[in-house]
């Protein structure tokens, strides 16, 4: 056990004060001590504060018809108390079912409510081979999803924190959420989730390095979800339904904004600014909008036609484009800033960074190369090309050079192959085409011998300074972003900065950003997945043109057909925590509609127990449960039925807390809550509503059982739980015959 300090609180106030400073309260200790002993957590408290001895905290009394139970009341007392047995017998029944009599002599009702899960991955003892840092502990994966899940949730999981895929996306796209919508066949919903942060998935899906894919949890076991390919399908769908997705704003704000630079960042800002109802004019020095997307990224990766179609969508929204206009030459910045309420500079980083290498003038900067690729390669066919860098631009240069006829193309980059910023697929593609990659090599000076090179210094030059949060420059109302502030970055990062700048400008202009009206996607109670789909080990692959047919004109790969894209969405595990709430008391309190009184407030039991994955997320810093209040339902029949293997000791495999009222053989009231079935107690309101008016008979019992598990999505290994749940429901209904 890690060492800790120990103090004793005289009252809840003192305990709260200590808890705010990081102390963990200890009541019966039967849950906490197990965690301390097995060293399963990643974080341990420096102090425990004993709250067991707080005077009056273990009383049971009735006041104005409300049963009040002190949070520190031991379970044995609850199981044996006459008042509870009379007013809320279900609670006594549940308390009596907790663990063993020895544990009930120590454990408290408050502790039972706040206990941690029993998931065997979560509880895997540290000294038995190392603790498992699962999703619930801040890790990325839930081991049950692809491991042994026999005791886990049959109603889906709950998000413990941002999934690794989303965390890796510079724009923070909620990838599992849109995958979920796709599984439900709600493509519009999926599209709207992406478009909340990225207005051009049809482009990013083709050019993005897809860091998200590399960190997908599936990678640890088989193949990561082909997120980019699915995104591409959704992107195409958006373009095919552009009238719906790029509608002009319903209301104009009367504010005018200018965006300088029509690259990813500028276009992203233009979209979000226009969506909010501002007039938007985009200036660009080139002939067509798109920036790098139009002029630097090769056609085989991103057909230019798509860029044109996307900018047409923005025009459809009412964005104006002024091209072939250089700010600072054709239009003075001062004039621009006078004419518009706010200006966003996203002029990019087209200039070649000075690397400070001897002989640098002999080299060619990748972006220049890509822009003037054809001319440059003329007369160089058959020569050897050395590309330095490991990102996607370097990759594009290498591949383009090769396809244009270079004899040998070698790439040298500072990073090791695993750290190269280019996507894995891109690297594989380059190798396939015969490009030699030399990772972990830098460039010191340019010599044409064997090119054994060391050390390279990169200096970013000529960038604009902005405030990180709003992206406002030192001039009022003037914002900047994209590569112009960050130096060369990825398209998706540009989109993110464009969005952020639009947010900053909207705030500056006093414009409120619209939600995604008309494109709502119903929030589920639990994370759902496709039980068959997740078993699919192989990821979907976009059809690629054979290596010898590739050119710099035609797109290398084809989009996934719809069926395959949707099937791929079925491989997403919808990462979260799938452990079940182990408490016997919690479902009962939810069924009784009890109130949880804390040091700060009174919370309905349902909100307290069911709205967060962990109770600790429900409670504010230092907040402690002090009392449970129950208004006992009059004349109701209440039971706690617990299914487990060993009646003397086990936690519930599944349980049912039911509170029923009947009149003349028909149900007049019902509350049903499952324990052990979902990450939090699972109240089934649909069943409750359906039962009203139904006669107490076999038929009702059968149908109630079916309805109760309607939304179940068990894993391979825990299907049996669904059968047990049905049995519990059926028996509980039939029991009412005797009443």
């Amino acid at each position: 056990m890690k060492s800790f300090e120990y103090s004793r609180a005289e009252d809840f106030c003192e305990a709260s004060c200590r808890a705010v400073k990081g102390a963990r309260p200890i009541a019966g200790g039967t849950d906490l001590l197990g965690e301390l002993k097995d060293d399963i957590l990643t974080d341990y408290p420096g102090e425990l504060v004993d709250i067991k001895r707080i005077p009056g905290a273990d009383e049971i009394k009735i006041e104005n018809g409300t049963l009040k139970i002190g949070a520190l009341t031991k379970l044995v007392k609850i199981a044996e108390n006459d008042l509870i047995k009379e007013k809320a017998p279900i609670l006594a029944e549940a308390a009596c079912s907790v663990a063993t009599p020895l544990i009930r002599n120590m454990g408290t009702i408050g502790g039972n409510l706040c206990q941690d899960v029993r998931c065997w991955f979560y509880r895997y003892p540290h000294d038995a081979g190392g603790r498992l840092v699962c999703s619930r502990k801040g890790g990325s994966t839930c081991y049950a999803v692809q491991g042994d899940s026999r005791y886990h949730s049959v109603f889906g999981g709950m998000k413990a924190h941002t999934t690794p895929c989303t965390a890796k996306c510079p724009a923070g796209t909620d990838i599992p959420a849109y995958m979920e919508q796709l599984r439900h066949g709600n493509i519009k919903g999926a599209a709207s989730i992406i478009m909340q942060v990225n207005p051009m998935p049809m482009l990013t899906s083709r050019v993005c390095a897809h860091f998200c894919q590399e960190d997908c949890n599936r990678c640890a076991n088989d193949e990561g979800v082909a997120i980019g390919s699915v995104e591409r399908y959704v992107g195409n769908y958006i373009l095919d339904n552009k009238e719906f997705f790029y509608q002009p704003p319903v209301q104009e704000t009367g504010k005018s904004t200018a965006v300088v630079g029509a690259g990813p960042s500028g276009l992203s800002a233009a979209y979000f600014l226009r969506k909010a109802g501002n007039a938007v004019t985009v200036y660009d020095s080139k002939k067509e909008p798109g920036g790098m997307l139009m002029y630097a990224i090769p056609n085989y990766r991103l057909p230019k036609d798509l860029v044109r179609r996307f900018t047409a969508c923005l025009e459809q929204m009412g964005v104006k484009f002024v091209t072939e206009t250089v700010i600072g030459k054709d239009v003075a910045p001062e004039q621009l800033e006078k004419e518009f309420d706010s200006v966003y500079y996203a002029t990019g980083a087209w200039k070649r960074p000075v690397l400070g290498l001897a002989g640098e003038e002999l080299t060619v900067f990748g972006l220049d190369f890509l822009i003037e690729v054809n001319e440059w390669m003329q007369g160089k066919v058959g020569s050897e090309v050395l590309v330095t860098g490991g990102g996607n631009v370097a990759m594009d240069v290498a591949i383009t050079a090769k396809r244009l006829g270079a004899k040998k193309v070698t790439m040298a980059c500072l990073e090791s192959e695993n750290e190269m910023p280019a996507s894995r697929e891109e690297i594989a593609r380059a190798k396939e085409e015969g490009i030699v990659i030399m990772p972990s090599w830098g460039l010191g000076k340019v010599i044409e011998e064997d090119g054994i090179v060391k050390g390279m210094e990169l200096n970013r030059r000529g960038l604009i300074d902005v405030a990180e949060e709003t992206q406002m420059t030192s001039r009022e109302g003037v914002f900047a972003g994209g590569d112009a502030t960050t130096g060369p970055a990825t398209v998706i990062r540009g989109i993110a900065t464009g969005h952020n700048a639009a947010r900053g400008m909207n705030r500056y202009l006093g414009v409120t950003e619209p939600g995604c009206s008309g494109m709502e996607h119903g929030g589920e109670r639990f994370l759902t997945f496709d039980p068959e789909g997740i078993l699919n080990k192989k990821k979907a692959r976009q059809e690629e043109i054979p290596a010898d047919e590739r050119s710099i004109e035609k797109e290398d790969s084809k989009s996934l057909p719809e069926a395959e894209a949707l099937k791929e969405a079925g491989r997403c595990l919808n990462c979260g925590c799938y452990a079940v709430n182990p408490s016997d008391i919690a479902p009962v309190l939810v069924a009784l509609d009890a109130k949880i009184v804390t040091t700060n407030r009174t919370i309905p039991a349902e909100e307290f127990c069911c709205s967060h994955l962990k109770v600790s997320e429900m409670l504010q810093p230092g907040e402690l449960v002090t009392e449970i209040d129950i208004a006992p339902p009059e004349g109701a029949v209440m039971n706690y039925d617990k299914f487990r293997l060993r009646d003397s000791v086990d936690f519930a495999i599944v349980s049912l807390a039911s509170v029923y009222s009947t009149e003349n053989g028909k149900f007049t009231g019902a509350r049903t809550v499952f324990g052990g079935a979902a990450p939090v107690p699972y109240r089934n309101q649909e069943l409750e509503g359906w039962l009203i008016g139904k006669p107490v008979n076999e038929d009702t019992a059968e149908k109630a059982a079916d309805l109760a598990v309607k939304n179940a999505i068990p894993f391979e290994k825990n299907k049996y739980k669904v059968i047990e749940l049905k049995t519990l429901v059926k028996d509980s209904v039939l029991r009412m015959r005797e009443k």
């Binding site: 060492s3 197990g34 009599p101 020895l102």
Partner: protein, 166 residues
């Protein structure tokens, strides 16, 4: 309030302990089972699972049977604790009726679980001297025996329950 010293009453004897991480002190993380067995030499109660699941470490605290492996010693400040060593008459060495009944009924095999079972039974009979077989089984449901001594255990405890007050 930070706890620096505690008092335990074990089998009627008063012990004062200093809490801390220095040599000889009781660290806050020490369990009652460790204190009893390692510091006081009271090795009658056993520690098997260390998780509160088997009941081998059962002792009686303020009349209730508890698992000493899941109890912090600091948490027991001021409490009266009874262990298996405290059952026999300290002067004559005469066994308590429960202990004797276990011998009479041969209610153990390897005996590892027996001290815990006897302590749980003692707590039960102290509160409810005429416990029924049902009540005995229920009370002992947290004490596991891997040698299947249970049948004889129930007989032994029932013997004492039947004789109580008679």
């Amino acid at each position: 309030m930070k706890i620096q010293e505690i008092t335990l009453y074990v089998n009627g004897i008063q012990y004062e302990f200093s809490i801390g991480n220095k040599f000889g002190q009781i660290p806050p993380g020490e369990t009652l089972s460790q204190t009893l067995r390692n510091r006081l030499g009271l090795t009658g109660s056993k520690e098997a699972c260390g998780e509160g699941a088997c009941g081998c470490c059962t002792v009686i605290m303020e009349g209730d049977a508890i698992t000493s492996c899941m109890t912090l010693t600091v948490d027991c400040d001021g409490k009266h604790i009874l262990t298996i060593e405290g059952l026999a008459d300290p002067e004559t060495g005469e066994l308590s009726p429960l202990q004797q009944a276990f011998i009479d009924r041969y209610a153990f095999q390897c005996g590892f679980c027996t001290p815990g079972i006897i302590m749980t039974s003692k707590a039960l009979l102290d509160k409810n001297p005429h416990s029924t077989e049902e009540e005995i089984k229920e009370a002992l449901s947290g004490n596991f025996c891997r040698c299947i001594s249970q049948y004889h255990v129930v007989q032994a405890v029932s013997d004492v329950a039947g004789k109580a007050g008679a």
